[in-house]
Structures are given as structure tokens and as C-alpha cells.
């Protein structure tokens, strides 16, 4: 006995499935901006906004101390001596402080660098506000010269009580070749 029965055409099932795979390729790329938005909202990856914030008058909390530590790193083999005048500073929340960073070009050519800041723990990021920073723009270093780069910052007194130490880290990336 020959049995024939009605089947849906295969393409009715095929095309939705093909569309799902194409859509997932797009979603992979859409995850990139979503990740940035998510991290900005939650401060998860310690990424700092690269723009100066207006100086606001905070009430200085004299009763509380927060230790701010500074870390300087040079990425790869960039011939830059990068240091900070002090690695540790005890501050009161609400109090404005200036710390000097120094960059020395140890080569005989002009270097262009970009410093990427990062704050740990990540959830303290939004409470460390900078009014002046060399990380806001590209930095040019003349051959064999040292440059002073001040950072002016304040700890927002709204910083949660549980945070007693904040680490501010800068990594210098060599972008000389990309500039030419």
C-alpha cells in the first residue's frame, strides 16, 4: 500500500531557522554596545568616563579616611618611564587632592601615548571624580624629556562605608604609529 500524506514544505521550517542564525550573528555584535551600557550602569569593569567633571562643593567628611592607591603601568614595550610622586594617599571624602604623575620619554623619537584609567573595586568607580587628568586626551612626549601630569580628584562622600581602599590605575598605551 502506498501512503501519501501532506507535509509542510521544508522551506516553511527552513527559513525561520536560517533567520535565527543570521539574527544571532547580529546579536553577537549588538552585545558589544550592550556590554558597555551594562558596565556603565553597574560600574562593573572599573572603566572611567574619559571627561572632566565640574568641580562641585562636597561637604568634607573629616571623620572618615579613605586610602587611595596609585598604580602606573606601561603596556608592551613603550619606552616610557611612568611614575607617580606617591603610591598611596590618605584622604577625607569630599576633599580635593592633586597628585603629580611623571612620564619620561626614554627614546630619541617623539612618543604619543594614551593612558587608560581603571578603578578597583569596580563599584567605587562612580564615586571617584576627576576634574583634571592626563587621561582625557592623548599625551605627546618629546625625546628624552620628562613631563609632569597632574591629576585632580575628589572622593564623593556618598562612597559606601564598606569601601576603605580605592585603587586608581593607569596604563599607558603607545599610539605613536596610529597617529602617523
Amino acid at each position: 500500500m502506498k501512503e501519501r500524506f501532506e507535509r509542510r514544505s521544508n522551506s516553511k521550517v527552513l527559513w525561520p531557522v536560517v533567520l535565527v542564525s543570521i539574527a544571532m550573528f547580529g546579536i553577537g555584535f549588538a552585545l558589544v554596545p550592550l556590554y558597555d551600557v551594562f558596565c556603565e550602569l553597574t560600574g562593573l569593569n572599573g572603566k572611567v568616563k574619559s571627561e572632566a567633571q565640574a568641580e562641585a562643593g562636597f561637604r568634607v567628611d573629616q571623620a572618615r579616611w579613605v586610602t587611595v592607591e596609585f598604580v602606573t603601568t606601561v603596556n608592551g614595550e613603550m619606552p616610557l618611564g611612568f611614575r607617580v610622586e606617591t603610591t598611596k594617599l590618605k584622604v577625607h571624602p569630599g576633599e580635593y587632592q592633586t597628585v603629580k604623575f611623571f612620564g619620561t620619554n626614554q627614546s630619541d623619537r617623539t612618543l604619543v601615548g594614551r593612558a587608560i584609567p581603571s578603578i578597583a573595586p569596580g563599584w567605587a568607580t562612580q564615586f571617584l571624580k576627576k576634574t583634571e587628568c592626563f587621561c582625557f586626551s592623548e599625551q605627546t612626549f618629546e625625546p628624552q624629556k620628562e613631563r609632569e601630569m597632574p591629576v585632580r580628584f575628589v572622593i564623593d562622600p556618598a562612597l559606601p562605608e564598606s569601601v576603605a581602599d580605592v585603587t586608581l590605575s593607569y596604563t599607558f598605551f603607545d599610539i605613536t604609529e596610529k597617529q602617523q
Binding site: 507535509r7 521550517v13 531557522v17 536560517v18 550573528f25 546579536i27 558589544v32
Partner: protein, 528 residues
């Protein structure tokens, strides 16, 4: 009627002769065979690389290879085993068995099927050829984390392109399987009557179409970061290397379920046959598989506990990951209940299936240990994780594939394999796989990091054991090759249509003649 007559003539011809049969074939059985043979070859290539690794690690110090080549070995071993051996083996089993199990004459899209197989050998050749390029093959691990992976030499774009091709191949295979299962079932074969192997593959195929494109996107971003000046993962340009880890594991975690779900299906076919009982808790098996598939998408960051996450994140990923133990436990208990008071016999497929249940469960337990984020800080990137994923992938996925080969080989070739040799193969493999991987738990707990060519003296003894186990394991697989080749040449006792006593109650494939004719189920079977 003349139309019917022409139609029937058309049906009678068998395969064309010679080499071109295999190049141009659109027959699901031919393509299944191609996939399986390719997979066996890649299993040997990837295995040889594993033996290079174990030879170097037999003693402390550097003996045979330089560190870069060692790193290339760990990277290529993983890529070849995942994309070249295990996934094609499952695709081959799907091609052979799914149409026969659901009463369909072939796959839904036969020409696409041919293409998705023939992409693989070219991808594999290209991947292996990177070993001979300037700067060596990819050596940053199969995860290809930037910025390390971006420092590769000339091989980098070839590695990425290989991944693209492998991805396209498995997306096409998955699409084909979904359309076949949803649209080609015999009348009366409702979804909840489908054999579990078909169910697990349906869910696996949905995972594949959801994750392979994301992985393709992530490696494309690596490519543009290196060659086109984008900064997806480059901190200097405002990107974030951690983003890659999230994208990778969004693919990577469901991917490890792609490697295990079809194994669950295979074992759920074999145990009822040899326990001579229907599968215990069929519908709970289906729901458990679907739950595992769903949960796999929401637990990825448990691979990244050490990268820095707020406590809330660590807690969420810990609990979500441990939740997966529930449906997995349902499966293990169902297999045990199926065996309970069954009239069991222990032919080779059953031995492998039982070993799968025991050893996979051990791998599952170490997985639970690592799900606990504070504990994972100790295990992360040590030999403990190496032991864990080899227990679930070797004594899990690979054991299930070997079980499937012994189970269905008589149906494919029409002859019984040599049971005595198969037993020898089983015992050698099962003992050596434990000698190889069990000591690695201790190495990891004692602090030996993974992916290193040399190690501190206190790790010497366990590493020596592990290497001995690895070599015995590796050479035991030659028995498998011998058994398979012998059966393919048609040497051995003639198999009955049913093959295994009472098997015809356990699936449509056992109602077909042995060997299965070139065309089957041209007229749909009746499903009760």
C-alpha cells in the same frame, strides 16, 4: 500511471561507483559514513597531539619540544577534538540514524548536507597547515583570548578562517537536522514518541544555531582588531579584553552541552535495549534535556570567576550553575532506574554506556565543585579543570560515541563486530583513561597550572602516571580502528535484522534489514 512508473525506476538504483560517489553523494547514510570516518581520522590526529603533550610532561624539564610548539599542541589538540572529532561524530550519527529512527527516507536538505560535510576536510587541512607557518600555529589556547591570541604570527587569519568554516558547516548541519526532525517524521511519530537520541539532537541543533554565529562574530572582531584597526578588545582604543571572554563563553558554555547532549541521547537508547525494559521516565528525560539547554545560556560567567565580578554576580552564577545539577541528576537517576531489575546483558555497547554513566557523573561532581565561586579561585586554570573536562568529554562524549559505534555498527555493516576484541578495547580504555586523568585532580589541587610545558618537581610522580595512562589509552584506540575496518570490509558473523535481542521494540531502525539498504523508509512505516 506513467509518472509513478518513472518514479519507481528512479528509486531502484543504488550508489554510483567509485570515488565520485563520495564527493557527489546526497544520501544520508553515505554522508553519515563520511562524517564518522573523518571524525575517527581527526580523533587520531588530535590524539597524537595529546601524546606529544603527555610525552613532554612525563618528566619535569624540557625534553622533546619547545614551549611555543607545546602551546600550539594544547591549542590544536582542543580545537581538533572539539570541532574535528566530537562534533562531526555526532553529526555522522545524526545523519545515519535520525532518518531511520523517525521513519524518513532521507535528510530534509540533502545537497546542503553534502556541502556541510565537504567543508570539514578543507578546514581541517588548513588548521593543521598553520603548524608550518611563520610563527607557528595558534598557541593561545582554544579560547583564543586577546591580547595573547592577537600576538600569533602568520597563522592567525588562517585559524580564524578555519573557525568560520567549521562554524558554517555545523550551522548548516544543525539547520538540516532541525528541518528533518520537525518536518520529515513518519505519520504518527509525534514529538513525544521520538527516540531520545532524536530529541537530544533537536535541542543540540537549536543550541548550535544560537551560539555558532555569536562565536563567528567574536572571532571576526579579533580579526578586525588585528588587521583593520578596530578596538573591540583593545583597551588603548576604549575596548575591553574581558568583553571577548564574555562573548566566547556565551558561545563556549552552550557549546560544551552541544558536546554532551547527544551523548545523553545515545546512552538513553542503549541502556533500555540491554536492560530489556523501556526507558524509565521518558518525558522527564525530554524536559531535563530542554532545561539543560536553556540553563546553558545563563551560566557562562562561571568560567570567569577570577576576572573580577561583584559578589552579586558571583552568587548568581554559582547558584545558576548548580541548578544544572538538578536536570542532570534526573537523567542519571533515570538511567539507573532503567537498569533496575532489568534483564541485563553486558555486550560492548552496554559496557561503554555504563562506564559513561559512572565516569560522566564523576566529571559532573568536579563541575559542581568548580561552580562554587570561592572554591573555584583555587581550581581555576589548574590541572583540576583539565581533569574535570576530560572526564566529561573523554569518558563522557567520546565513550558515548564509541558506545554508539558498537551499538549501530552491525546495522550499518550487516556483520557483528568481534565481541572479544571489543571487550579488550573497553577494559584497556576504561582503566587507562582513569590512570591518565584521575591523578590530574590531585595535581590541580596541589597547584599545577594548566598549559605549561615544564613543572615543579613535586608534581613528577602523578604526571608520570598520567602520561603512562595517556599512551595506553591512545594506542588502545587502534583496536577500535581495527574492529571498524574489519566490519566495514564485511568480515564477521552475519547480523540479524534485529541485531540485539528484543531491540525491535526499542526503535524503528531495528525493523530494517541489516545492513540497512541504501534507501530506507521510502514508504512511511506505521507508528503505533
Amino acid at each position: 500511471m506513467s509518472v509513478t512508473a518513472i518514479h519507481d525506476d528512479h528509486h531502484d538504483h543504488g550508489p554510483t561507483k567509485g570515488f565520485m560517489r563520495w564527493v557527489t553523494t546526497t544520501n544520508h547514510k553515505d554522508i553519515g559514513t563520511l562524517y564518522l570516518v573523518f571524525s575517527l581520522a581527526m580523533f587520531m590526529v588530535g590524539g597524537a597531539m595529546a601524546l606529544v603533550i603527555r610525552a613532554e610532561l612525563f618528566e619535569p624539564g624540557m625534553q622533546f619540544v619547545d614551549p611555543l610548539f607545546f602551546n600550539s599542541m594544547t591549542t590544536l589538540h582542543a580545537l581538533i577534538m572539539v570541532f574535528g572529532a566530537v562534533m562531526p561524530a555526532f553529526a555522522g550519527l545524526a545523519n545515519w540514524m535520525i532518518p531511520m529512527m523517525i521513519g524518513s527516507p532521507d535528510m530534509a536538505l540533502p545537497r546542503l548536507n553534502n556541502w556541510s560535510f565537504w567543508l570539514l576536510p578543507f578546514a581541517a587541512v588548513m588548521l593543521v597547515s598553520t603548524l608550518f607557518m611563520d610563527g607557528g600555529a595558534a598557541a593561545a589556547g582554544w579560547t583564543l583570548y586577546p591580547p595573547l591570541s592577537l600576538q600569533a604570527g602568520a597563522s592567525f587569519p588562517f585559524t580564524i578562517f578555519t573557525i568560520h568554516i567549521l562554524g558554517i558547516s555545523s550551522i548548516m548541519a544543525a539547520i538540516n537536522i532541525i528541518v528533518t526532525i520537525l518536518n520529515m517524521r513518519a505519520p504518527g511519530m509525534t514529538l513525544m514518541k521520538m527516540p531520545l537520541f532524536v530529541w537530544t539532537w533537536l535541542i543540540t541543533a537549536f543550541l548550535l544555531i544560537a551560539i555558532m554565529p555569536v562565536f563567528a562574530g567574536a572571532v571576526t572582531m579579533l580579526l578586525t582588531d588585528k588587521f583593520f584597526g578596530t578596538s573591540f578588545f583593545n583597551a588603548a582604543g576604549g575596548g575591553d579584553p574581558v568583553l571577548y571572554q564574555h562573548l566566547f563563553w556565551f558561545f563556549g558554555h552552550p557549546e560544551v552541552y552541544v558536546l554532551i547532549l547527544p551523548s545523553f541521547g545515545i546512552v538513553s537508547q542503549i541502556i533500555p535495549t540491554f536492560a530489556r525494559k523501556p526507558l524509565f521516565g521518558y518525558s522527564s528525560m525530554v524536559y531535563a534535556t530542554a532545561s539543560i539547554g536553556f540553563l546553558s545560556f545563563v551560566v557562562w560567567a562561571h568560567h570567569q570567576y577570577t576576572v573580577g565580578m561583584p559578589v552579586e554576580g558571583e552568587l548568581y552564577f554559582t547558584y545558576a550553575t548548580m541548578l544544572i545539577a538538578v536536570p542532570t541528576g534526573v537523567k542519571v537517576f533515570n538511567w539507573m532506574s532503567t537498569m533496575w531489575q532489568g534483564a541485563m546483558t553486558f555486550e560492548a555497547p552496554m559496557l561503554w554506556a555504563i562506564a559513561f554513566v559512572v565516569l560522566f557523573t564523576m566529571g559532573g561532581f568536579t563541575g559542581l565543585m568548580m561552580a562554587i565561586s570561592p572554591a573555584d579561585l583555587q581550581y581555576h586554570d589548574t590541572y583540576f579543570i583539565v581533569a574535570h573536562f576530560h572526564y566529561v568529554l573523554v569518558s563522557g562524549a567520546v565513550f558515548a560515541i564509541i558506545a554508539a559505534v558498537y551499538y549501530w555498527l552491525p546495522k550499518w555493516t550487516g556483520v557483528m563486530y568481534d565481541e572479544r576484541l571489543a571487550n579488550l578495547h573497553f577494559w584497556l580504555t576504561t582503566i587507562s583513561v582513569n590512570v591518565c586523568f584521575f591523578p590530574q585532580h590531585f595535581l590541580g589541587l596541589a597547584g599545577m597550572p594548566r598549559r605549561i610545558p615544564d613543572y615543579a618537581l613535586q608534581f613528577a610522580e602523578f604526571n608520570a602516571w598520567s602520561s603512562v595512562g595517556a599512551f595506553v589509552f591512545g594506542f588502545s584506540q587502534l583496536i577500535l580502528c581495527y574492529i571498524v575496518v574489519k566490519s566495514m570490509r564485511g568480515e564477521g558473523e552475519k547480523a540479524t535484522d534485529e541485531v540485539w535481542e528484543g531491540a525491535s521494540e526499542h526503535g524503528l531502525e531495528w525493523q530494517l534489514p541489516s545492513p540497512a539498504p541504501y534507501h530506507t523508509w521510502e514508504h512511511s512505516p506505521h507508528i503505533h
